[in-house]
């Protein structure tokens, strides 16, 4: 039987790392819960709820610093929430064994986070598409490191939207934020600066998680005694992580995160193969 204090304590660093990296803590939390003996579907449903709290906790500070682009976030949410509802519905009906393999596969996408460039905006791009111009998908933010305002515009809007739909599907299906995938799409396809992509992703994750939760909430998978300590712990961690964003050495964080992800992929594959 799992101890609630233990759940509370482990969820604080999970929320902290999730907020710092923009990846979201659930990709660590869900496999941890499975390792602790929580059934995979319950772990996924619980992860989905805690994401709403961590996303809100981490977003408070980035909105305040005007890095998050709320208009672009709301536009991209059209794609992610649709995907999340479809993904969560799939999870409630498929055999649990497949979820281990899907999870292990999707954890690989978190390595995309290690390859992010440090671009600081693209300016008014000549390759800006019609939809981006129609929706006026652009923005600017004050970059504290360069002490200047960075302008950017969105390009490849439909392709990026399709990518966000798949990110939402994976998020809803696995009870995670799929933050690394979302950040990569925003940076590499939509052409958004790294900091904007990371914080806007955190904002979108909360709404995507709500869409997934709308399916899980009434599926009888949410154990309040498991969810409560995790919500409290991850939120405390996420709020602290949001405050320390960009203050913790990035290299150290990436190394620690790399080993955690490798360990969790191994564990998910082991669980999957032993369940066959």
């Amino acid at each position: 039987m799992v101890n609630v204090l233990f759940l509370l304590l482990i969820s604080i660093p999970v929320g902290f790392i999730g907020a710092l990296t923009g990846i979201g803590g659930a990709s660590i939390l869900v496999p941890l819960l499975i390792i602790l003996g929580i059934p995979v579907k319950q772990a996924i449903a619980t992860g989905m709820i805690t994401i709403i709290a961590t996303s809100a906790g981490a977003t408070m500070f980035s909105i305040h610093k005007e890095i998050t682009n709320i208009k672009i976030a709301m536009f991209l949410e059209i794609f992610t929430i649709t995907g999340a509802i479809i993904g969560a519905t799939i999870t409630t009906i498929i055999a649990p064994v497949y979820l281990y393999f899907f999870f292990a596969f999707f954890l690989f996408t978190t390595f995309l986070k290690f390859d992010v460039s440090d671009e600081t905006g693209n300016g008014p791009s000549p390759s800006r598409d019609r939809l981006s111009r129609l929706m006026d998908l652009k923005g600017s933010y004050f970059d504290e490191s360069s002490r200047s305002v960075v302008d950017y515009t969105v390009k490849n809007t439909l392709t990026g939207g399709l990518g966000m739909f798949f990110a939402g599907t994976a998020a809803g299906m696995l009870g995670i934020g799929a933050g690394a995938f979302k950040v990569s799409i925003q940076e590499k396809i939509l052409g958004m600066p790294t900091k904007v992509a990371s914080t806007t992703s955190n904002f979108i994750i909360g709404m995507t998680a709500l869409a997934g939760t709308s399916v899980y909430l009434f599926s009888g998978l949410i154990n309040t005694t498991v969810t409560a300590p995790l919500m409290v712990g991850t939120t405390i961690g996420a709020v602290a992580g949001g405050r320390f964003l960009n203050k913790v050495p990035d290299r150290t964080l990436k190394i620690v995160f790399f080993f955690i992800i490798v360990l969790l992929i191994s564990e998910m594959l082991y669980k999957g193969f032993s369940s066959l």
């Binding site: 759940l7 709820i49 709320i70 004050f142 709404m207 005694t225 300590p229 919500m231």
Partner: protein, 130 residues
């Protein structure tokens, strides 16, 4: 592209969303913490329960909100508070969509009003149908 320029401060919508997130998350976390403390105190243990009464049940959000008060008698104040905390947390981004929709209506921004309305409609259908 970058240009030197001082910051202007968060917009009205930004400030409302920040306030909403802080209120919703704080309220839900307090409810969870109190509910959990009462659960541990009343059951005299620190381990999670797998009893069916600690799981959230119901047809949809409307059903759950309508019957949430009945939970105090059936499942106890501790489970009631933890369920209420989850409902408050889930409602926070939902209210955020409604606030954004109203903001864009006031600002006469038809494009973003339609976007937020779409998000609102999809979420509402999903919460009420399941």
């Amino acid at each position: 592209m970058s240009r030197p320029c001082p910051k202007s401060g968060p917009s009205k919508l930004d400030r409302v969303i920040i306030g909403l997130l802080i209120t919703g998350v704080t309220a839900s976390i307090v409810l969870e913490a109190v509910g959990l403390a009462l659960f541990c105190h009343s059951h005299g243990r620190l381990t999670v329960s797998t009893d069916t009464t600690v799981f959230i049940h119901g047809r949809n959000l409307g059903f759950l909100m309508h019957h949430v008060a009945d939970m105090i008698d059936k499942q106890g104040i501790d489970i009631f508070l933890m369920t209420l905390g989850i409902i408050v947390l889930v409602s926070t981004p939902f209210v955020r969509v409604i606030v954004s929709m109203v903001y864009f209506a006031i600002e006469r921004d038809a494009k973003f009003f339609l976007i937020t309305f779409f998000v609102f409609a999809v979420l509402l259908i999903s919460l009420l149908i399941h």
